[in-house]
Each structure stands twice: as C-alpha cells, then as structure tokens.
Amino acid sequence: MKVICNRGALLEALNVAGTVVASRTPKPSLQCVKLSAPDKSLTVMATDLEVAIRYIDHQVQIDEPGEALVPADKMRDIVRESVDDTLSIEISGDNAIIKGQDSNFKIFTQNVAEFPPVPDFEGEPQFEIAGGHLKQLIGQTLFAAAKESSRYAFNGVLVSVKGKKISLVATDGRRLAMAKGDLVSDNSGKDGVKAIIPAKALTLIDKLVDDPEEAVGFQIKENQILVHTSSATLTSSLVEGQFPPFEDVIPKDCDKKMTASTADFLAKIRLASLLTTEESKGVRLTFTKKGLVLSSRSPESGEATVNFPCKYEGTDVEIGFNPTFLIEALRVVDSDDITLELTAPNRPGLLKGGPDFLYVIMPVNLQ
C-alpha cells in the first residue's frame, strides 16, 4: 500500500477514530487503526468491540492499494506534530513508513487479519434526520442519562421512531428529559422502531455530524445500530434491557404553574446554588402570588436568598430541587420561556421549554 494524504484531513480521520480505540486492552491489535485503501479513498477503521467506526478520507492519492494495522496513538502523534501539507504512507513488510518533507518514520504494524470486522452501512436507511436537528435532540437528552448505573437501560437514550417523528428519552431515575423532532424520511413501517443507544455512541454521533443540513441515516437491527454520515459509518451495540415506562412518571395533574424567561430563571438558580455543597445540594423554591424566592442553606458555607419575581398560578408551595438538575435542563432549552408545573412538595415537577422539550424532575427532601 502506498498513499499520499492531505495531513489535515488525515488528522481529522485519526482523531475521530481515536475516540473509539480501546485505551486499555490486552490485545495490541485493538490499540490500532486499520487503514484500508482499496481504490480511490482511504478508510480509517477503529473499534473497541462495542462501538466501531469507519471514517472515509477522500483527500488522498492512492498509488498502490492495500491495507495495514497501525498503532493508533503513534500514528496520530506523528500526523499531528508534522508541519507538512501532505504526508506519504507506505507499507513495506511489517513496517509503515510515514514520510514528510524532512521527516521519515518507520513504525511497526500488526497483522491485519487480527482486526475484527467493522460493518459497513449497506442498503437503504430506515430513517433519516437532519444533522443539526439530531445534534439538538442529543444535546437536550443525553445529559440526563445515568453514567454508570446498575440499571443498564438508564445508561443509554431511548430512541423511538414512528410516523416520521422521532423522540429521545433519557433518565437516571431522578430526572427525565424528553425531546421530540421531525425526520427527513421514515421507512420504518407503521410500527416504527425503538432502541436504547449507549451514551458513548451518541456522543460519537454528535461529534461525527458537522454539517447541519446533511441527512444522517439510521439502521436499527436486532442488537445493533448503524449510523451513516457523509464521511463516516458508526456501528454500536444496543443497550439491552427494558427502558422504564416513562410515560407513567410524567405528571398530568399539575395545578400550579410558573412561567418565566429561560435565561432569567437559569441566572437566578445559578445564583442561589452558589453555596450548596456536596452534602447539602438542595435549593428551596418558595412559590407565592408574588413570584419565587430561592433559598439555600448549608451548615458548612452559609445561607443564600434570591428573589425572582415571575408569573405564578396556584396555591403557595415550597419545594426543594437539586439546582444542578434544573441548570442542566435550562441550558438546553431552546425556547425563550419555560413553564414549571408542580403538584406537591414530594411530587415531581414538570419543566417545559417549547412544544418539543419536557423535563421531569424529582424534588429533594430538604433538612
């Protein structure tokens, strides 16, 4: 194999692939990227056996087709630190020779046959969504997923597709975020599809998409999801397990409602949360006809009171929330105003930002 690459494009390919390469593995082959140059383009492949990626670099000149398994970090370091516009990569025996104008590297390669197969996107996508819209939906839900929960389904985001509509739902058991959107195309049939996609895969998908206009294609198979963008294909195993019946926890009988500017509410919550600590996380929200008073108290640091005049309908109520949970949600709301609906101090609150985003948050029992 012998190829001449645009250094910038190659670095991009290696960076994307590098996020998948297993950092700790007893198999040296998994610490490598696979380079494949069949005809006109160079494909960079990486996998950690859960997520796999194929990134296609078109800015290459193939002098001699072939493939090789190259240590990912060494390869990326060389490409990053070089200053030339182009680099040539030549495989000779067990060595990869990377040449710039004034530099010449020989790095040892691994046996290509040891690399697991990386699936490619074949056939028509089940559904497609505009890149920018997908990124928004991921941003509005992914943060609410659990990080390392023993309830595995909580470590992913539930994606449901039906009737050219898509919804993403994530929860860690304490709060739940749900965002809805429209698809560009939907061939999933009348029953639609549902799958829990691991948080890691969604983070990568978010990174892969850079053109808001391009249509991102999806295929959901038995235990696998394939996502196709113009430059890459990502494959991931799905999270097995049952996603909780989230519709049941969305409150439907709220008789109290605050309406406020998203930015103002966010600013006040941030202000009121300054004195909270690891042990005393809660902020007290006291709603009256005059609006909202936020207060917090921690034995270690002191007390804070913040007034927030806003529109409130309903009887007076006092409820505690973990301010981080509110802040994270308010940051991803894309409407100017939000509503916060409540029933009782020990029942969940319902935050809505526009017609397509809702967020359920469970209160904190304050001391």
């Binding site: 739940l176 042990e279 020990n346 948050i361 904190v364 001391q367």
Partner: protein, 617 residues
C-alpha cells in the same frame, strides 16, 4: 405427674431415717460462715490486709508459703490490739469497727461485720501477735480451728501480725478444691495489688516462699495506680477527675489503644474498696463507644468517693458487690466524665509499640549477664569479681534493674505528653503513600494517617451532627430502585423505618419479595442505592435485628460514613489531602474510626532516634 412419681420414689427413704432439727454448734456456724467469706487463701489475705489497713498501718508485709497452704502471715505497723481484747478478736460478730445501728449505714472502714477473724480461726490454725503503742510487751493468742487459747505475753513490735497455717485443715472439701500453689499465689498477688492501689500512702510488700514478689513503697496516687498496669501502658493514660456535689471520681483511663478482650485492666474502687459493678463497667464501655473495637474493654482504674450513706456495701459477704442508692447518677457521672476526657484529649497511639522498649531492656539484661559470665571466666583482675551477686540479680527476669526503675519512675512523675490534652497543630504539608496513607510532619515527629479510617470518622461525626438538626437531605426517586428482599428483611425494614427516615432513606414494600427505594440521601449520591440497600438488608438480618435504636443508628451512620468515605487505593489530590487533614482537628474522636480502629499513628522523633540507635542505651 412427674413430680408425684418423684415424691413416691423418695418418700420411703426419707421416712425411714427422718433427721431431727437441732441447733448447730457455734463452731459449725462459724465454719459455714467461713465458707462464704473464706473461699481460698487469697480471701484470707484480703481479710487480713483489710484489717491492717483499718488499723492505720503505714507498711504491710504479706508472707506466703506454698500458695498459702503452709503459711499466710500479714504483719502491719498499725495501732495493734490491746491484750484484753485479744480473745474477742476471734469471737464471731465481735468488731471494733462499728458499734451502733447508725454505724452500719455509715461505714468508713474496710471491714465491719466482725466475721473475718472468727471465720479464719474456725478453719485454720491462727495466731495473732499484737502490741499497742502504749504497751510494754506484745501478746499472742492462738486459735486452732475454733479452740481459742488464752493470750500469752510474747516479743513483738508495735502493730499486729496474724499468722494462718494449715488452712482448711478441718474442711477437706475446701482443701481438695484448692488449686496448685502458683495459681493460689496468683490470686493472692492479685488481691494484694487490688488492696494496694487505692492506698498509695501505705507500703506493701509481698513475699512468696522467701522471695520478694511485690514491693510497692509509699508513693503518690497515680504512681500507685500504674502499678496495676503493664509498663507499656504507662505513657498511654489520661488522668481523670470528675465530681458532682457529693460524688468524686478520680483515677486513670487508658487510651483506646489499650482496650483488651477482657476487663483485666479495669479496677473499680468504691470508697477505697475494690468492687465489681455492671453499671459502672457499662458506663465505661459506653464512654469508649466508637473508639475501641467491639467486644473490647477499656483499661481504667476508677476510684469513686461517695458519702457512705449513699451506698449499701453490706450486700455480699466479701463486699465485692455493692448497692447504690442512685446508680443512674454514678453511671451518668462516669459516662460523661470519661467521655469528655476522651473528647478533649489527643488519642493518637504511637506507631512504635511500647513493648519494643521492654524487649530492649530484657535483651540488654541478657547481654550484661552474658558479659558478666564471660568476664567471670577471664582470669586476672577482671576475672575475679568481688561480688558477683548483683550481676546475678541483673540476669534474672522479673524486677527491672534499678537503673530502669528510676527512669520509669521519672516518666511517671511527669505526665506524658501523648496523653495530655493539648492537640498538636498540624502543618500544611502531607504526602500520600500507596494511595492509602497520608504522612504529615508535626513538631514532635510525624503522623501516619489511614485516609479511609480518618475520612470515615469525619463523615460519621458530620452525619451525627447533621441528624440532630433534622432528617438528612434526600433526593426523591422518579423511578424507584427496586431491591429483592426476603420477608424477614422486609420485617426488619419496617422496624427500622423511622431511623432510615431520619437518615434520608425512604423504602417501601413493592410487590412480593421486593422493596422500592423512594428517596436516598443526597450526600451519598455517588453510591449505588441498590448496593447499599442490599448490604444493609444482608447485614441487618444477621446483626441489626436485636439492637437498640441508639446502637442501630450508630451502625447505620457508620455504614453510610464507611461507604461515602474515600477508600484505600483512592488517589487524592494535594488539595483533598489538605482538606482531609485540616478537618481532622475539627471533629471529635478523630483518633479512631467508628469501628474503633485507629485512624492515626504517631512516630515521634524520640521513637525514630531510638529505632535508628541514635540514642545510646
């Protein structure tokens, strides 16, 4: 039915030789009474030494032969017994210590029942030799198992010597039950020590088969008390003095480190009399709660002074048990006094076991003995020592050579710094070793800290302070965690529900064999609630069901603190290390984790110098 058949089978035998009720002879009465008071040679020693103390002795010599079987002789320099009263000394219920009813309820002497000498006299060959200060001569009187001779003039010093031979010669059952001489002597030595502790002004000597076994010269109170403890304990003690209007408790308590599986280092005294009291033992254990490992008994010597009228010592013939008018008050005073002392003190144990010093001492004695033996064999000037005896003495195990003794004396006189109430100010730097231990410099040396144990204690104390202000802050669950539970575990949960509520945990039954966690404390947000609850249920089934609320709360908070604390193996940033060490001084009982294990060891410059042999021997 059973009882009836039993009667039938016994009846014939009983009817055939029906015993007649008769008045027992005085001698037999005394022998029966002796059974209560005189159990073994040590009881004789105790009674006689108590008499000597009551006689105002300033020096008491106890001589034993063959474990007390052959001879028990107690010689004092007290006020003596006038010749005319000597015959009464062996009479039952004859005493000089009380005279009226009122006296019985205001007992300030060790004895008062007038039983001891009579009892001893009835089961042994006893001889009293006594001389009062204003008498020209001493008089002696003999009692052979109840046959009392007339007093005879004899030679003797002022004071009284009581000699007991052939103990239990007429009570074969007792004689048979006596153990070997070493065992009996052990009991005697214990008895003498127990009597000596609260009387520092009286010199005590105990001689066994002609060899000195205990030599306690008159000294100050604390030095005398320390005689009860092994030498390695001496530095690790706290002086204690608490009082209310009428009760005064003094003594010494050992650092938590000294707690042992048995209570053999615990001595309780009431108005100078050694007692056993479950209430006070309990108060002591409680005051060390969380500082010692479970099942260990703190070392402590408590001298309780209480108005004689507030206690009934006439409950038990040997007076080992007493009845307090207000036992709750004593309990409270011991508990609060010891607890406060512990809270106000630096309880950090030393990293170098004190035993190392002892070992050195004996080793050096060995070395000296060997050297001496070596020199003895060398002919010439060195080879003919004028007086080899002192060298022999050095070589013997047992009493420390005089050099060590004086050094030890000095250390007793000046209260050791480790046990004083001043807390060392911790410096700013500390390093983490093996992601488990923190080492920090102090003016006196260094501290080695177990990061998990210390953090656990800090979390525990903070939790404790927090729950006094109300239930812990807790995050409610949108989708409750479910945990499988047996019906027994569900019952446990129901029982401890109110406590869990205070700790911010809400659990409710959720279908068959399952419970749901509805709320979980925010400060444990890093923990997996399911894992925590599973642990709780498993432990609960085995250990928690029978606990009182207080103990249960302690256990639960302990579990939380343990799980929330940094673990051994967690790498800490320098800022975290600083914060952890800074908080050490802010919480109570920081020297031990809630399980009682130490959090901190001290390695002083002195210890280091010793270990590196920078200081000579």
């Amino acid at each position: 039915m059973l009882a009836a058949t039993g009667c039938i089978s016994i009846m014939p035998g009983v009817t055939s030789t029906l015993p007649r009720i008769q008045q027992l002879s005085a001698a037999l009465v005394n022998r029966i009474a002796a059974g209560e008071v005189i159990e073994r040679p040590a009881s004789v020693v105790k009674e006689l030494v108590e008499n000597a103390l009551d006689a105002g002795a300033s020096s008491i010599l106890v001589e034993i032969e063959d474990g007390g079987r052959e001879l028990i002789r107690v010689t004092d320099d007290g006020h003596g017994i006038p010749a005319g009263e000597l015959p009464l000394a062996f009479a039952e219920h004859a005493t000089s210590k009380i005279a009226t009813d009122d006296d019985l309820f205001n007992i300030s002497t060790m004895g008062f029942r007038g039983e001891a000498l009579a009892s001893i006299g009835s089961v042994a060959h006893a001889r009293i030799l006594s001389r009062t200060a204003d008498s020209d001569a001493a008089y002696e009187i003999l009692n052979r198992g109840g046959q009392i001779a007339d007093p005879q003039a004899a030679a003797g010093n002022v004071g009284t010597a009581v000699e007991v031979r052939n103990l239990f010669f007429n009570v074969p059952a007792r004689r048979k039950f006596m153990k070997g001489a070493p065992t009996e002597f052990g009991h005697i030595a214990d008895a003498v020590l127990r009597l000596a502790l609260p009387h520092p002004g009286v010199a005590f000597r105990l001689v066994n088969n002609g060899k000195k076994s205990l030599d306690l010269p008159a000294t100050d109170a604390v030095s005398r008390l320390l005689a009860a403890w092994p030498e390695e304990f001496h530095e690790q003690r706290l002086p204690l003095e608490v009082r209310d209007a009428e009760i005064r408790i003094t003594g010494i308590v050992g650092l938590p480190e000294l707690a042992r599986p048995t209570n053999k280092h615990q001595y309780l005294y009431l108005n100078g009399r050694h007692i056993r009291d479950k209430f006070i033992q309990h108060a002591l254990r409680e005051s060390f709660r969380g500082l010692t490992e479970p099942g260990r008994h703190p070392a402590a010597i408590l001298l309780i002074q209480i108005p004689p009228g507030d206690v009934d010592v006439n409950v038990h013939p040997t007076k080992i048990e007493v009845r307090f008018k207000d036992s709750g008050r004593i309990h409270g005073l011991v508990l609060s006094g010891v607890r406060e002392k512990l809270l106000g003190s630096d309880l950090t144990p030393s990293a170098v076991p004190m035993r190392a010093d002892n070992f050195d001492t004996t080793e050096r004695a060995d070395v000296r003995a060997t050297l001496a033996a070596f020199f003895q064999q060398i002919p010439g000037d060195l080879g003919a020592p004028q007086n080899p005896a002192p060298l022999q003495l050095h070589a013997q195990p047992g009493p420390a050579p005089s050099l060590e003794f004086s050094a030890q004396q000095a250390s007793i006189d000046s209260p050791p710094t480790t046990a004083s109430a001043h807390l060392p100010s911790l410096p700013a730097t500390a390093i983490q070793l093996h992601n488990s231990y923190l080492v920090t410099e102090t003016p006196e040396g260094m501290l080695i800290i177990d990061q998990h144990a210390l953090h656990e204690r800090i979390m525990y104390e903070e939790l404790k302070a927090r729950i006094t202000r109300g239930p812990l802050e807790s995050q409610r669950m949108l989708i409750p965690y479910t945990v499988p539970a047996t019906s027994r575990q569900v019952a446990l949960l129901e029982q401890i529900q109110p406590l869990l509520g205070r700790l911010g945990i809400e659990v409710a039954p959720f279908g068959p064999d399952t419970v749901a966690i509805q709320a979980f404390p925010t400060f444990l947000s890093k923990l997996d609630p399911v894992e925590f609850m599973t642990d709780l249920l498993e432990r609960g089934e085995q250990e928690l069901l029978d606990l009182h609320d207080e103990e249960l709360l302690h256990e639960l908070m302990d579990m939380m603190a343990c799980k929330a604390a940094v673990k051994a193996g967690d790498s800490l940033t320098p800022a975290e290390v600083q914060a952890l060490i800074a908080r050490k001084d802010l919480v109570d009982r920081s020297s031990n984790c809630p399980h009682g294990r130490p959090t901190t060891l001290r390695l002083s410059l002195k210890d280091l110098e010793k270990q590196f042999k920078r200081t000579g021997f």
